[in-house]
Symmetry: C2
Subunit: 232 residues, 2 copies
């Protein structure tokens, strides 16, 4: 029986795919990838490149990055219909996601559209926040501590509560709302306690304290921050 697989490729280093992800990729017939800018490859496709079979059919599709949900859902629906046809024609179809497919991924929406009709499998991946802690050899959390993961695009009230109530906070995609996050942490004297990792596990990885940045800085898209109030 053919299936549709959402496959986590981890944050950047091709060695951070799981054995399972590599084994699944090797038996794929078709791979759907987002149409990258300037005709290049998507980041997830580059990470998985060492494992892609020669015979793989790659279908580049446009995933609109817009705020209008109707436009997004309509284009996902069209892609989901294509995927459904492929799987019903006995093709194993893959969809790569950066990091972990269960963490803020478009795959979740497409899987939800298809679950009733075809077999959908999710292959877990290493998330950027897991790799950030690993690259620094510091714990995300210990003992009775909790960890909250929040996107920088959450509203101010939510961000404030998360920052005030938790000892360990991961702020995803901090570049998309850098000024606000910077100010919220600055007002609470937490810039020194926030570690910023740009491009985790990629060749261009950089690690700095948030205190080493300025309010007006432009950060790369793949930047994640880890606030640890009780840090060693």
């Amino acid at each position: 029986m053919a299936s549709f697989f959402g496959i986590g490729v981890g944050p950047g280093d091709s060695e951070l795919l799981t054995i399972k992800a590599v084994n699944v990729i090797k038996k794929l017939d078709v791979l759907y990838v987002p149409q990258a800018h300037k005709g290049g490859k998507s980041v997830a496709e580059k990470i998985a490149a060492p494992y892609l079979p020669n015979t793989l059919i790659i279908k580049k599709r446009h995933f609109p990055m817009v705020k209008d949900w109707n436009i997004k859902i309509e284009s996902w629906r069209k892609i989901a219909d294509e995927i459904k046809d492929d799987v019903r024609n006995s093709q194993n179809v893959g969809f790569l996601t950066l990091g972990d497919p269960s963490v803020y991924s478009t795959f979740s929406y497409i899987a939800d559209m298809l679950k009733q009709d075809i077999d959908v499998q999710t292959i877990a991946g290493i998330s950027s926040f897991s790799q950030i802690a690993a690259s620094l050899s510091i714990p995300l959390m210990l003992d009775e501590e909790s960890l909250e993961i929040v996107p920088a695009t959450a509203d101010e009230d939510k961000l404030t509560k998360v920052i005030e109530l938790n000892d360990n906070v991961i702020i995803m995609k901090i570049a998309t709302n850098f000024k606000q996050v910077y100010q919220l942490l600055q007002e609470r004297g937490l810039l020194e306690k926030t570690i910023v990792v740009e491009n985790a596990s990629m060749a261009t990885q950089k690690v700095r304290r948030l205190a080493d940045y300025s309010l007006g800085d432009n950060l790369p898209y793949f930047t994640t921050a880890l606030l640890k109030k009780k840090e060693g």
Copy 2:
């Protein structure tokens, strides 16, 4: 140069190690493992068994499971000293952790004792909560949502806040404080919205709603719950 490696082996399925973890394991000289009950192998050792080199020296050490921090730290310190000697004698030393070494792991303490003296590397692993979402093909979080991860052993006030303030909550090791967690969720009408996964990705994996359990049930140690208030 030799190093000390904390290696995440994922939640149970040997295919859920990363390529990087397997490559690191293959070059280890020494592996420290917890002394399992009845002379058997630890769970993490069983998961990594397919990749362990034949020449590997396995050092079984006792990691006391007690509440007294002095006893724990003293025994970790002794093991850390042994590891330091091995690495200084040019041995690559490994320490396996179930799931992800950055998530509630003894490795974090030992790494902290050794970082100043020897090279310490952490190899990220798939956490149980990531695998739970993958096995169900449901998202941990989407869009502006946050996720909070909390151990069932946190105090009642903390557990209550986490449950009330978040749409997505992972409760780790729910078996260790099942009655309290069950009651907190029951009082808030959330038993139906909580998915319980026993032994994620192991042969004995079971998935049920918390509503299908009773207050007096005994759950396996490796049981994790996912509360999703806005589910589907």
